[in-house]
């Protein structure tokens, strides 16, 4: 019996590493209780460190699933998603990730698989930290400071990420990012559904 949820999660993780650059590798597994998918990205430059380490993205297993031959995506609440780094439970360093690891979604779309995958890319690359997001949206965590200090630190870390991982140039352009992700996603799931 094929586990399509795992296949789809792996496709999504693959697209993230594809966009973020070959320096980042991904493994996907389930949580112990089987209810969550955990994408484990290795090779991520950690903030205020020369080391590279792991980043984890956790979300419900039912986010991606196959039913009657069709692929489905369940839009999730921000409370259902978690970003950790180095080890599970340690919150990812990002101005818009809370102390328990759940992200503060911006006002962007998140109804499609493309939106979710693009959000992961933008979060890992800190592209979603802007002047508006820190001044108007406020920071969920003060770990990088607040307001303009958070923006400054985020931009510094962005440079480190780009330098280390060499992601695709369009990650700063949401429309292009979505377009690329969407094409890759549709192509990969078509292969999967044909094989099903």
């Amino acid at each position: 019996m094929r586990d399509y949820s795992m296949d789809l999660a792996k496709i999504a993780a693959n697209i993230v590493t594809d966009v973020m650059g070959s320096g980042l590798t991904a493994e996907v597994r389930y949580s112990n209780d089987g209810n969550q998918v955990i994408m484990e990205f290795d090779g991520y430059p950690l903030w205020k460190s020369r080391r590279k380490g792991k980043v984890f993205v956790q979300f419900p297993r039912s986010t991606f699933y196959m039913r009657k031959g069709n692929v489905h995506f369940n839009a999730l609440q921000q409370a259902q998603c978690r970003y950790y780094q180095e080890e599970m439970g340690k919150p990812f360093v990002h101005p818009h990730v809370y102390g328990d690891g759940h992200p503060c979604w911006d006002n962007g779309k998140r109804e499609r698989a493309t939106d979710f995958i693009a959000n992961i890319v933008e979060t890992l690359s800190l592209q979603n930290v802007t002047e508006a997001s820190v001044m108007v949206g406020r920071c969920a965590s003060g770990i990088m400071g607040v307001q303009m200090e958070a923006l400054k630190n985020a931009q510094q870390h962005q440079k480190a990420i780009i330098s280390a991982l060499k992601p695709k140039a369009f990650i700063s352009d949401r429309r292009e990012l979505e377009s690329y992700v969407s094409k890759r996603w549709c192509s990969r799931i078509s292969i999967l559904t044909r094989a099903a």
């Binding site: 019996m1 094929r2 586990d3 399509y4 949820s5 389930y30 112990n32 209780d33 089987g34 209810n35 419900p60 297993r61 039912s62 699933y65 196959m66 039913r67 009657k68 369940n74 999730l76 609440q77 409370a79 259902q80 328990d100 759940h102």
Partner: protein
């Protein structure tokens, strides 16, 4: 003199005629607010070998005299009248003691009582009773001022528990959920024995006999303004078993509109205090239980215990939860509430019979999930005092209980049609016109409209029951589901959003909308957050299924 009677070690046998018990009941309940007294007539004998005393109470002399709220005096003329009575009616017996009531207080020996007992150098049997609490205490004093415990028995072999017309006892109820769940509960049994004459008189004043609803079990979710009124009406209608569930406490701002509750209940759990108040005031035998809990945590399986569910709750999401559970188990449901529109009161009652063709989602329209963030309880909105809410709420509660009684008495011939009543308080409530009460009827299930419930639920089919021990790995549950459904897929998902597991699916953190049951999963601690018995939508690949999942955890399970 044993001032506190705590060192008494010896006892005497006391036999009391049943007729004396009836006379005591009449005496103490004539005016329970004031003390009263009677004089015992009988005999005292003493075993010449063992020295043990035996007291026989043959009769009770009493007059329609009342004392104050805290004292009663056996005056000289009262005692002389008793002597005359004995001489005339039962010359072979003697005056052997007295009884008095403590009105609204517990039965105990006051200093005045003790002083009274010190005065008479004679064998004396004394009794004090509490009409409010149904408690009593008795003591025997011999001529040498030795005091004895009394083993009191009714002379014709009737059980002593029925000595008084009414008494209330706390009962240890086995709750319909696991003991590890720390819900506070309080359960009372009210015993009220009416004589045949009394019962015939009561029946004349009831459309139905006072015993007709004695075997009915009613659940009231919500102990707020309307919940208080509904509980009172159910109590006075002779409902035999009442359960009240609420997760909030009474505060100074909602006490004024809680008709059954007194000031001492402030800051105490609503369900427990309302159950206690019902027990104290009920005139009919009944059992009443209060559970301080979120109804969502008890599970839909909890509703199976009841003949009717009333939901005077102020949360749209909770009403939906209750309604769906009632639909799945074919339990009649009456829901009601009030609100303010354009500064005027409005209220609604919706009656769903056991085989209702539509559910609350249809009656109200979809979009209820958006209301999940709305107020969950009265305690969230402290500033709304709603001073005039009582009179309007009483109208809503009255209509709701009227309709509920019709169902309980099985007079509802149409078990499919749903009725919605909208009542508007017109102007200041003095004016009424045809628009004040509007009635809507839902007699057919619309086929063209999607229904979250009826798209998967087939009312004429029984829901499959699955039992599972949560201490076991989840793949055991997968095996059971796969055997039932035969889809041979990697994972079945329990849809907690469909199943309205609100505390878990919509938690602000660690929300869990679906719970995966896979062929290789281990023990899942999340299952312990779920209710003991609930109905779940199981998502397969080909289709969805409904199952009732009953957890049967082994004793050494950790919650």
């Amino acid at each position: 003199m044993h001032k506190n009677y705590t060192h008494i070690t010896k006892s005497v046998d006391v036999f009391m005629d049943k007729s004396v018990i009836s006379k005591i009941n009449v005496l103490i309940h004539r005016d329970p607010q004031h003390e009263c007294g009677g004089i015992f007539i009988g005999n005292v004998s003493q075993d010449s070998i063992t020295g043990k005393h035996t007291i026989y109470i043959h009769d009770l002399y009493s007059e329609e005299r009342l004392g104050t709220r805290s004292t009663f005096e056996f005056t000289t003329d009262y005692q002389m009248n008793a002597v005359k009575y004995v001489k005339k009616n039962c010359p072979e017996y003697h005056i052997i003691g007295n009884i008095h009531s403590h009105a609204q207080y517990q039965a105990f020996w006051s200093e005045q009582d003790k002083e009274m007992m010190r005065q008479a150098r004679d064998n004396g049997f004394y009794m004090v009773v509490s009409p409010k609490y149904g408690t009593w205490t008795a003591i025997f004093k011999d001529m040498d001022f030795n005091f004895y415990h009394c083993d009191l028995k009714v002379a014709d072999d009737t059980e002593c528990e029925h000595m008084f017309e009414r008494y209330v006892e706390s009962v240890e109820e086995t709750p319909p959920f696991r003991k590890e769940r720390t819900f506070q509960t309080a359960s009372y049994r009210v015993n009220h024995n009416y004589t045949d004459v009394q019962q015939r008189e009561m029946d004349k004043r009831f459309l139905h006999s006072i015993k007709e609803l004695s075997d009915k079990k009613v659940l009231i979710v919500g102990a707020g303004t309307i919940g208080n009124l509904l509980a009172e009406y159910a109590m006075n209608s002779g409902v035999g078993n009442l359960c009240i569930v609420d997760m909030d406490a009474y505060h100074y701002w909602n006490l004024p509109r809680s008709s059954m509750i007194e000031a001492h209940a402030q800051e105490k759990p609503k369900a427990l205090e309302l159950a206690k108040a019902i027990a104290e005031r009920s005139h009919f035998p009944m059992q009443v239980t209060g559970i301080n809990a979120d109804i969502c945590e008890l599970g839909w399986g909890f509703f199976k215990n009841f003949d009717l569910v009333l939901s005077p709750v102020d949360s749209a999401a909770i009403r939906q939860y209750i309604d769906r559970g009632c639909k799945l188990y074919h339990i009649p449901h009456v829901t009601c509430g009030t609100g303010i529109i354009d500064q005027s009161f409005t209220g609604n009652i919706v009656v769903f019979p056991a085989q209702a063709v539509v559910d609350l989602e249809y009656v109200w329209g979809t979009g209820y999930r958006n209301k999940l963030e709305e107020r969950r309880s009265c305690s969230d909105i402290a500033e709304e005092t709603q001073a005039q809410v009582m009179s309007f709420s009483a109208q809503i509660a009255g209509i709701a209980m009227d309709l509920a009684l019709k169902i309980l008495r099985e007079q509802d011939t149409d078990k499919h049609t749903v009725w919605k009543y909208i009542l508007n308080a017109v102007g200041n409530g003095y004016e009424r016109d045809n628009a004040a009460l509007r009635l809507y009827k839902y007699g057919k299930r619309p086929t063209a409209i999607k229904s979250e419930l009826y798209d998967v639920f087939e009312p004429e089919k029984e829901i499959t029951r699955v039992t599972f021990d949560r201490s076991q790995p989840k793949h055991v549950l997968w095996e059971k589901l796969n055997e039932l459904f035969g889809e041979n897929i990697y994972s079945y998902a329990l849809n907690l959003e469909w199943s309205l597991n609100i505390p878990i699916a919509y938690h602000s953190t660690q929300a869990l909308a679906k719970l995966e049951v896979t062929m290789d999963s281990g023990v899942d601690e999340n299952l312990f957050k779920l209710p003991d018995c609930h109905v779940y939508l199981v998502e397969g690949d080909e289709r969805d299924y409904l199952i009732e999942l009953q957890f049967t955890d082994s004793e050494n399970t950790e919650a």
